[in-house]
Symmetry: C2
DNA sequence: CTAAAACATAAACCTAACTTTAGGTCAAGA
DNA sequence: TCTTGACCTAAAGTTAGGTTTATGTTTTAG
């Protein structure tokens, strides 16, 4: 069993954040002794899942719902599995979006590289997509799709 | 030249958002006629860049700075290029993070699939990393790295 | 036993990025 | 002429996800 300060160290999270998560119902079965929180293995695994679900874009109130399901035993396995599948889809979509963003950024890096090398603004300003080098045209197409 | 309503349609952005961007200084050279905003090609390209930089995680106040640089001509090419390079690095790091998140999500999907199929909570609860199937162990390792 | 460190709560505060509201201008069509 | 629709501003409101503050209690080290 760990204190809030120890868990704060272990996860690199402020104590205030752990208390906030608790207040929001993210540790529904956490025990206390004289009012003092006792983090067990259940809460540590909960925190790992919280970080994952947060990184996937899930809101705190929906993470709370998931944690409730975890207290209800195997009957909620299907809901839990579906939640993770929807999160997986959401993350895949976000990665697609980031790939487009990356294409745009790489195109812009190339653009300014060329502009700096040529020291000529006007020629670049009027550059048309079909006059780009093939690899840059590919990036341009991804970025503008 | 387009009105704010037309641009709102074209980009799928609320009019209020476009006005907000303007107020924050994201269209430093936009013209007006009788107080009415006139969006030109410069502003449309600005909006494409804004969407890209926002998707890369840049804050509005920093996007404003970039737009200022754009009004200052070729002397700011180096700053602009460096900004895009830092954004590229940030996006690459975010994609790495998302790959780990995805590994965790896929592991959890598999976990619940197996749990539902076996209908046995306790056997899974005590599952150790080195007893997982090889492909799941790989996911587990990525997710917990 | 006592002092400091670590814990606790409730409630106010914070920030970013918008959105809504209230009130006003202006151009075009019936 | 009137009224409708699209535009304008300033300022207040909203939301998520915390953080800070003020105050009080418990644990721990000497």
């Amino acid at each position: 069993m760990y204190t809030i300060g120890q868990v704060s160290e272990m996860f690199g999270l402020p104590i205030s954040t752990l208390r906030y998560y608790d207040k929001e119902g993210l540790f529904p079965t956490m025990e206390r002794k004289n009012g003092i929180r006792k983090f067990g293995e259940t809460e540590l695994e909960a925190l790992r899942v919280i970080e994952c679900l947060k990184a996937s874009g899930l809101e705190i109130k929906d993470i709370k719902l998931f944690m409730q399901w975890c207290t209800e035993g195997p009957t909620t396995y299907p809901q839990r599995k579906e939640l993770f599948e929807r999160r997986r889809e959401a993350v895949n979509e976000e990665m697609d979006q980031l790939r487009k963003t990356l294409a745009m950024l790489e195109f812009k890096c190339w653009y300014y590289d060329t502009a700096i090398a040529e020291g000529d603004e006007d020629r670049l300003q009027s550059m048309l997509p079909d006059k780009l080098p093939p690899d840059m045209q590919a990036l341009y197409d991804i970025a503008h799709s």
